[in-house]
Symmetry: D2
Subunit: 374 residues, 4 copies
Amino acid sequence: MARIRLGMVGGGNDAFIGAVHRIASRIDDRFELVAGALSSTPEKSRASGEALNLPRVYDDFKQMAIREARLKNGIEAVSIVTPNHVHYAAAREFLKRGIHVICDKPLTSTLADAKRLVKAAEASDALFILTHNYTGYPMIRQARAMIEAGDIGNVRVVQAEYPQDWLTVEQDFKQAEWRTDPARSGAGGSTGDIGTHAFNLACFVTGLEPDSLAADLDAFVAGRQVDDNAHVMLRFKGGAKGMLWSSQVAPGNENALKIRVYGDKGGLEWAQEDPNYLWFTPFGQPKQLITRNGAGAGDAAARLSRVPPGHPEGYLEGFANIYSEAAEAITARREGKEPGPDVVYPTVQDGLRGVQFVDACVRSSARNAAWVSL
Amino acid sequence: MARIRLGMVGGGNDAFIGAVHRIASRIDDRFELVAGALSSTPEKSRASGEALNLPRVYDDFKQMAIREARLKNGIEAVSIVTPNHVHYAAAREFLKRGIHVICDKPLTSTLADAKRLVKAAEASDALFILTHNYTGYPMIRQARAMIEAGDIGNVRVVQAEYPQDWLTVEQDFKQAEWRTDPARSGAGGSTGDIGTHAFNLACFVTGLEPDSLAADLDAFVAGRQVDDNAHVMLRFKGGAKGMLWSSQVAPGNENALKIRVYGDKGGLEWAQEDPNYLWFTPFGQPKQLITRNGAGAGDAAARLSRVPPGHPEGYLEGFANIYSEAAEAITARREGKEPGPDVVYPTVQDGLRGVQFVDACVRSSARNAAWVSL
Amino acid sequence: MARIRLGMVGGGNDAFIGAVHRIASRIDDRFELVAGALSSTPEKSRASGEALNLPRVYDDFKQMAIREARLKNGIEAVSIVTPNHVHYAAAREFLKRGIHVICDKPLTSTLADAKRLVKAAEASDALFILTHNYTGYPMIRQARAMIEAGDIGNVRVVQAEYPQDWLTVEQDFKQAEWRTDPARSGAGGSTGDIGTHAFNLACFVTGLEPDSLAADLDAFVAGRQVDDNAHVMLRFKGGAKGMLWSSQVAPGNENALKIRVYGDKGGLEWAQEDPNYLWFTPFGQPKQLITRNGAGAGDAAARLSRVPPGHPEGYLEGFANIYSEAAEAITARREGKEPGPDVVYPTVQDGLRGVQFVDACVRSSARNAAWVSL
Amino acid sequence: MARIRLGMVGGGNDAFIGAVHRIASRIDDRFELVAGALSSTPEKSRASGEALNLPRVYDDFKQMAIREARLKNGIEAVSIVTPNHVHYAAAREFLKRGIHVICDKPLTSTLADAKRLVKAAEASDALFILTHNYTGYPMIRQARAMIEAGDIGNVRVVQAEYPQDWLTVEQDFKQAEWRTDPARSGAGGSTGDIGTHAFNLACFVTGLEPDSLAADLDAFVAGRQVDDNAHVMLRFKGGAKGMLWSSQVAPGNENALKIRVYGDKGGLEWAQEDPNYLWFTPFGQPKQLITRNGAGAGDAAARLSRVPPGHPEGYLEGFANIYSEAAEAITARREGKEPGPDVVYPTVQDGLRGVQFVDACVRSSARNAAWVSL
């Protein structure tokens, strides 16, 4: 099976997430990066392309979309790894030319853009994959499969949290800069950058539909224009309740995404920083430590694992799993087939839901944490 | 220094918390239990008193208060360990006779009783000590001292949680029965039984004054009349924010009280089930594991510790520390002195604040989680 | 049931282990401390006795043994908590007068004394209880019961370790001083002080008989006369093998006694610093976290527990369990009965085995870690 | 910089370690796999090569070495991932033709072969890199750098262990089969397969030279011809002491390689299953949790990290770091330069030392755990 020809928008030198996407695309050898428009500045784009030995480098994403679409062996898919406010404009160009889009999250910086992007994706024959990468962790798949199988019964309570500490004080380096600029990141700060992950995971793992939320947002660092701490109460359709905490000002938390789900028959707990473990307590029995590929872990985790239990896989492998799922879907599409029933990846609808989450948080907080529908 | 003569109200055979109080009072050998009205039924009271070799056993607390007050060597203090709805009536009898009261929490089952009890305590020469026992843990004292010393800077975020799982399904044994009966426990279920602990700890550790809360309460088990899960957002005076989660339906959580506090200079994390540890992260430095009596722990923890680091102390020792603080205060009072400045224990005001917390939770939840002042 | 009248030898002001024994004897209210010869210096003995409100204080243990034996309500049992080299002489005086002895470990400072003490104990009607306190931890009882029940199959491998760090540098305070003086502690340093605990636990938990050992001892701190680090290989009768590491120069280890046992059907792991947990892995199934009094824990742990799961018990409660077992045995003896079959405590034979362990370590090490029979 | 052209010997379909090497070689995009002799059976070799889209597939390694050496753009390096007994013969063919060798561990199945391979490597202009992959973990580099910098003072005690449980019962699948066949794996079982890793790490991290060992080996599973449990005492030149435990029959241990090093100023502890953490205790200060790329971690870890702290890297990234170091060395060689001083990888001498370790263990155990020089 030939590798999928991949392009990239954004991700020039010293961009964090672009390098992550490239590694993720390589790990399972299903993609070959052959083209890029790696920066908003043509010179930087060229320099970055050269450093990566890219066969084809473009000045901007539109040029790239047009030309690649005309090539016989042009790119089949593109990874969009720019700041949030560029996602929509870039994705549109590729979608309308039938090039599959793998897009970083959050989907867009505004709700209006998100809705437009949904339409663009629905109007296209191409696939749209959103890299809510944490859904690629094997033990997240394991948790989802267990909940679907009824192992913890009906879900009652979902506790999701995503604390970090890197914005505890004012930062002026590149990663911090655009992420705290509402024009580029969107109206949400921690809510958009990391809260969306926690929210997405809460829905993904439980299969629940969110109903409404009440949010109390703060910007604790003087002069910050977007939230750096968010306290959110969640209600799900069917009666389950949740809490969500996202923070970038919680010293001692590097990237401490955690999700805990409690049903009437048991509980599950997972932490991103130790991702190879899933704690499972069937009510009335001892707590079990299920490990990736170990005893107690099933097919949902195994199909996204590469090495035996006790050999930890991490963030990059979880990210690579999104690319592997994308590869499954894209190669099935090549052959006019549907991918297997196990293939799951975050979609443009999940992306819309994330942007709606941010929008709802901001609106609720502005109304003194009133309940806002999702 | 002669031991303090102690009586007990409640705590008859097979009462959980009464036995805990008795052990706690014995550990440091400052008290001697000499009298009791151990049950609401005189027969049970007598039987329990005999089993404990108690010199003096009474039919009820009023009889005990009257007679002990007349004895030359009657009790100097009484422990009240009945269900919540009896606290006020019992405490009043002893307070008005100048007998110090050590009372289990929550203070009372109703806000009206709580206010009356505050008046009774204020009108009395006797001391009133509330056994919010978790404030007796050495590493909680350590955390409080560090925050007071500015080690984490200005507090911004407080995450308190107290999940348990024992009420995941309907239970019919004694402990469960009265705790889920609003007539005896009060209008709050998990909020009253354990949420008050988490709330008290949040205030005790940070020194912050609570301002208001928004609460979303549920009774997930069919037919349950009080909340078994509470999601609460907190606002403190001065701008700090908090979340509080109490639950008795979270499988895999035995008694998982946890508090995390984040300031602009660092963070602290403590978990009741592993109480000899305190995680401290000065922002920009590695996380430190401070241990009870170990390197990095100071006087506030040491004065309430009995054994060297690495020799774990637990729940009973933490509880005993409340009794030790009470003993300090009572013996100082004997001599007409003030106890030393380090002596700290939860007061009737803390108790009132706890009952106000429950009341606010219930009222907020009834109003769709509207903000309610504290 | 009247409390057991208890005396104490050693344990004067600022002695660590004496205070521990006193708390341990009080926790379950089965003993009453009424007499003491608390120091080798009569003046100190008197001062310490006064501080403790002891009814009867003696100049030395012999005087105490003689006089108490004559009293109508003299002590029924004595706790011996002196430095090791005094154990034999003190114990003998009480044993020969029919007073039960509760003695700290190691049994004696020399093998010759240990053998004499065995004879003295065997010749006496009185009971001899050795406070290998770690055998009192509920989850150690749980582990023992599980192994006895075959839950991990035939034991193959036992990994015991007991690292500390307090002697990493030269120390000159009292605790360090006598423990590093061979005349008072015996020929073993870490082997005697803590290695005996690890060795005792390995035997107690598995039920295996030790066969032989090979030991490589070091005194890393200049001028130290006894070992501060011991590497030991163990062979048990029947073919199981073990390793034992004791160290007092391992920075970062406060009191990190740990035991791991592996059989052909499963494994068990326990750590003293987190004593309420027992890890159990049935081969081919997920690892289980069994908690004290929690799901999966059985009667052997429950009978030595006081509070519900999630309410941690610690070192003092484990120590108190040895006193409770002693109380069971002593009160049975009062009534001319045998204690129940569950009552277990370390005996003089266990003590002899510990001293033999130290002796074997020292001899093996002197012979370049040759195998020495046990 | 053009990618390094890589070949592979062994690693056909369903070989575990071959797939690992391929992923490791891809992660940082420094290698391109272009040729292979993937199996000892030509048919399987061809089938595996096709499955991998390899441009050039050979019947056997000799044919591959001969032909690739003649090609203008033949392979520059070869990965040897066969069972141990083939390593020497395969490596020799490439070394003598100037093709760099990246070889799995242990170096060879016999000491004689190991010595021959050392000679072959020394006689060659080509580089020899042994994939003791655990030395590639960033926090292992961090530990090594800290010890070299004197952060824990003079090393006294090294505790290395590597327990697994997969051979607790007899297994008949491929991985188990050759690893328990002395003709293919060598005379050591657990000692060769995993003990060599622990031994290598002990030396790598501390910089100590091993002096001698005493080993007690067992084959607990009936009929097993090589050890499945090894207890080893170590002596290092200069006086440090160590213990090493390797086991494949320890239920509950998946791949629990762990190393702890104690010096006169501090201690370090690292566990492979949670590889992003390094515990550091400066004596007399609180224990610190240093995280990969986090506060407290330095350049040695950072240069082998790809993502920020809190984003876990795992086994494959650690393995990839060996490939990255190899790439650094190979590209420097291309240009006639020396690689930078930070570039470190396990050499043929480390491989020899590993085989000597196995040989010494087997000989010591045969002589009742007598000391054997290393």
